[in-house]
């Protein structure tokens, strides 16, 4: 099982779906950001799995995964800063109470 590409890809798909559900369903903005991190991790797992089973792609897959991690770190920084900035005005981390941002 640890030697089959399908097992890794299915695991990655399940993790991505869990992240998708969290992003769509949670009310807390930080929980939504955590769900995004889970989805990025799922993508990384898929990339690593493809690299592990295709020898000429292996180092490239590791590099792409490292780049994804760097972008995820940047995204988390900016996202959390935005959440904190909104929290300072609204006193709530719940996204459905940010409705007046539409107007």
């Amino acid at each position: 099982m640890a030697q089959s590409l399908e097992a890794y890809l299915i695991l990655s798909g399940l993790l991505f779906s869990i992240g998708t559900f969290g992003f769509l369903a949670r009310r807390n903005a930080i929980a939504m950001l955590m769900s995004i991190e889970l989805m990025l991790n799922a993508v990384n797992l898929a990339v690593i799995a493809f690299g592990a089973f295709t020898p000429q792609l292996q180092a490239h897959a590791a590099l792409i995964a490292l780049f994804v991690m760097a972008v995820a770190a940047a995204e988390a920084t900016v996202g959390l800063a935005i959440v904190i900035a909104i929290y300072r005005n609204r006193r709530t981390p719940l996204v459905d109470e940010y409705a007046s941002m539409r107007e």
């Binding site: 030697q3 798909g13 779906s17 991790n41 990384n44 690593i48 592990a52 995964a65 900016v78 800063a81």
Partner: protein
């Protein structure tokens, strides 16, 4: 004492047992992140999910990515998220509704996505597979990154991006008018 090559009675390789355990831990922790009522516990469960995923990277032969996972995700992003949770938590937080009222639609979408992805994976004939995984050569990564010039531009762009993200994060999270220190609590 001689270690048996496969698990007794089950005839699995030890790798498989490790993979199933790590996958189970990771999926359970990720599920708890998504449905957990207390968001601090969600953040801690996220660290567990990242750690199990680092183990899966080692099983897939990507040791350098596993190390980076521990350093970046467990070491940096988790701490960042935990601090943001502490800064934005209200007392009423855990007591209020965790999900949107339309969460069932999100559940349906996630379920549909799961079915779609798994069907696509099972029905595709993946080419170029090897039957023995290889370990990623870390030296090869360094050469690709710096010597061969394939990823030099990407590396520079990432550097600029991270700098911009840090500056932007500080700018966004900084209070609008910082009072003089000593003028009372901020």
């Amino acid at each position: 004492m001689q270690f048996p090559p496969t698990i007794p009675f089950l005839e699995w390789a030890w790798d498989d047992l490790l993979f199933i355990m790590l996958a189970g831990i990771m999926l359970a922790a990720a599920f708890f992140v998504v449905v957990g009522r207390d968001i601090v516990r969600s953040g801690l469960a996220m660290i567990l999910a990242f750690g199990a995923l680092a183990g899966i990277y080692v099983l897939a032969g990507a040791i350098i990515v596993a190390a980076a996972q521990v350093l970046i995700y467990i070491g940096a992003i988790s701490v960042l998220i935990l601090f943001a949770i502490m800064l934005t938590q209200t007392k009423a937080g855990p007591a209020t509704l965790v999900f949107h009222r339309q969460a069932w639609a999100g559940g349906l979408a996630a379920l549909g996505l799961t079915v779609l992805i798994i069907t696509a994976i099972i029905n595709t004939d993946w080419p170029q597979r090897v039957h023995e995984r290889l370990w990623t050569a870390t030296a090869e990564i360094g050469l690709l990154l710096f010597q061969d010039g394939l990823y030099v531009v990407a590396l520079q762009v990432i550097a600029v991006l991270i700098t911009a993200a840090v500056v932007g994060g500080v700018f966004l999270a900084k209070p609008e008018d910082v009072p003089d220190p000593g003028e009372g609590p901020r």
